[in-house]
């Protein structure tokens, strides 16, 4: 039997790296501030994606960038803390979860 491919469509799915494996049943995959999924967007945006990214703190907590920024901006300078652990908020430069790194390595090898 000979199969000739006439046409094909590639479909890709993306998710924000939130530091753990995706779990559909886990309702903790929500931004703690707006309670919308990380994969969605913050309540002020219409489309998920690069316009409404997630932001990592050095402490490991993740929020929609717009949500955490609104909180930080309204706080006095000495109280710009992570809402989860109350440590001073420091945006992590670029943080990649171990799981994602391992997956990339697996593909490469």
């Amino acid at each position: 039997m000979k199969v000739t491919i006439k046409n094909w469509n590639a479909i890709a799915q993306w998710r924000w790296d939130i530091g753990k494996e995706f779990d559909e049943t886990d309702d903790e995959d929500l931004c703690g501030i707006c309670r919308v999924a990380y994969e969605g967007c913050c309540p002020r945006c219409k489309m998920p994606g690069d316009d409404c990214p997630v932001l990592w703190g050095e402490c490991g907590h993740v929020y929609h960038m717009h949500c955490i920024m609104q909180w930080i901006e309204q706080q006095p300078p000495n109280k710009q803390n992570c809402p989860m652990d109350r440590k001073p908020w420091i945006t992590a430069e670029r943080k990649t979860a171990n799981t994602a790194t391992q997956q990339t390595q697996a593909v490469q090898s």
Binding site: G32, I33, C34, P43, R44, Q74, K79, P83, M84
Partner: protein, 221 residues
């Protein structure tokens, strides 16, 4: 739909689905931003057996501003105003965080009932009572739980049904003998209760406050 409404609706639904916490949320009027929450008094405290209702208002900029909560049910507690139900709790003020929810805030109120902070009181008279005589304070708190929150009758050890007539002396956490003593001097009972409560005429304080001092207060118009 605005962000606040979406989050509040979600929180109300979550609370309905969770039967284990025994925390209830109800609408007060048409607005989803004015709610009534309630929770059982914590076990092993004078509030055990009562159900406590809280008035909740959700500010425009929620969750970036704290929820406004006050007790509807009268509570005898150093951090709750015995007159207005206003609550002194850091997370309702400067320690608010946008990850707190209706449910987690109500749970915090429940645990405030377990651990009073008399050094940061909302009701100075109640706090003084708490510091002077813990057992007398707890007796009064239990009595308030019975009268206002539907808790068991502290006098009926078998946990008789609620209701019963209010005993103004027990409500104020005073000794009947003390009130009778000054009433016998010809002062009006209500005034005696008021003055003795204000002077914190309880426990070891009774020996420190002279009769003359009480009479002097009673004679003030």
């Amino acid at each position: 739909m605005d962000a606040r409404l979406r989050r509040v609706n979600k929180e109300i639904a979550d609370c309905k689905n969770d039967k284990s916490s025994k925390i209830q949320l109800d609408l007060v009027d048409e607005s989803p931003f004015h709610l009534k929450g309630s929770f059982p008094g914590p076990e092993g405290t004078p509030y055990e057996g009562g159900r406590f209702e809280v008035d909740i208002r959700i500010p425009d900029s929620y969750p970036f501003q704290p929820l406004k909560m006050k007790f509807i049910t009268k509570v005898y507690h150093p951090n709750v105003s015995s007159a207005s139900g206003a609550i002194c709790l850091d997370i309702l003020k400067d320690q608010w965080s946008p990850v707190l929810t209706l449910k987690s805030t109500l749970i915090s109120l429940q645990s405030l009932l377990c651990s009073p902070e008399p050094d940061d009181p909302q009701d100075a008279e109640v706090a003084k009572h708490y510091m002077t005589s813990r057992s007398s304070f707890e007796e009064t708190a239990r009595y308030w739980t019975h009268i206002y929150a539907g808790g068991p009758d502290p006098k009926a050890k078998d946990g008789g049904s609620g209701g019963g007539s209010r005993d103004e002396v027990a409500m104020a956490g005073l000794e009947k003998a003390h009130v009778d003593q000054f009433e016998a001097l010809g002062f009006e009972r209500g005034k005696v209760i008021d003055v003795l409560r204000r002077l914190n005429y309880r426990g070891a304080n009774v020996t420190k406050i002279t009769e003359d001092r009480v009479v002097e207060e009673l004679l003030k118009p």
